[in-house]
């Protein structure tokens, strides 16, 4: 029974999780797009053509420009944005370019991405874990985050870092290698399958709302609007 479970987790479940991940992303994207409609849209703000009057001081011109683009420098949480950016870049890049994964891809299909040096992916893994700890501390300590937090938020944060914590343990041979690698695979599969069906779906929603739906914060030339 245990033996069957182990082979299932290390075999078919990997396939299942990637299919659920890919299929889920496609289905959820279509469901999201059905909430929007093509519409003749007119962009009023921000005014791309706006040029601050040249007779003003440099500082004043810069502030006017930010205002025209609806950017409020006081509302930018620079530290958090930076932490979040590093967290996300490492979160997405590490699993793609880590040597361990590419070796598996190579033995299975004979193809693989190029791999980053293991010291680099190890640091990236540490960045993800550090980012998650900062998110956790904010959630526990800042009243404004605590007041809207639910158990689900903590659970999802745990699910997001679990593959990195276990991956780190595997790489450094902490505890029993075989047990932890099994745990790592299981955590990775769980995360993959959760992404389309949880708030992690923001990885698609973010781009749709920025590039396809017209709003004062959208980029490019969006042609759709909400249609509920």
């Amino acid at each position: 029974m245990i033996g069957f479970l182990i082979t299932f987790i290390k075999g078919p479940l990997i396939w299942i999780s990637f299919i659920v991940f890919g299929g889920g992303l496609i289905v959820q994207t279509f469901r999201l797009l059905k909430l929007t409609q093509k519409k003749e849209t007119r962009r009023i703000v921000p005014d791309k053509a706006f040029k601050p009057p040249t007779e003003l001081s440099k500082k004043e011109r810069f502030l006017r420009y930010l205002m025209s683009q609806r950017v409020n420098p006081l509302a930018l949480n620079i530290c958090l944005v930076l932490v979040s950016f590093i967290f996300h870049v490492c979160l997405i890049m590490t699993p793609i370019f880590v040597l361990g994964h590419n070796v598996m891809l190579d033995t299975a299909f004979g193809i693989s991405f190029f791999s980053l040096p293991e010291q680099v992916t190890d640091i990236m893994t540490k960045f993800v874990i550090a980012g998650a700890i900062i998110f956790l501390m904010r959630r526990l300590l800042l009243r404004r985050v605590r007041i809207i937090s639910t158990v689900y938020d903590y659970l999802l944060l745990l699910i997001a870092v679990a593959p990195f914590v276990t991956g780190f343990m595997v790489f450094h041979h902490v505890l029993n290698y075989n047990t932890i690698i099994l745990l790592h695979v299981l955590c990775g599969e769980l995360l993959l399958m959760m992404i389309p069906f949880s708030k992690f779906f923001h990885m698609v929603f973010f781009f749709i709302s920025r590039f396809m739906i017209i709003s004062e914060h959208s980029l490019g030339n969006p042609k759709r609007s909400w249609h509920y």
Partner: protein, 124 residues
Amino acid sequence: MLKQIEINTDPIQAILKQNRKEIKFGLSMCAHCSLCAESCFLFISNGNDPEYMPSYKFINSIGKLYKKKGRVSKQVLEEMRDLVFEKCVLCTRCYCPFGIDIPSLITLGRDVCRTQGLFREYDR
């Protein structure tokens, strides 16, 4: 007990039903990250009181109604009135990093309050 009876859940549930997808999507997408806080001038000018945070306002008005399927007491609805009318002026300047349409969700909260005769009180 008497207060419970004053609520007419039918129009509330009609609003919830008609806007189900939007509400559900907003609730499920919100990462509870609190980055919208500083984009709200009322949040800033009220000493960073978290109850002024845009996400708090929509989660605890239309979001709460959605989760309770419209069955709330008059007292709870009066608290919501304070959130959507007194603590928000619908300036639509709030910024969600994902692009959740918070003002339109708060508007739904206002719609619900109006069906129960709860409005902004200008003489408070």
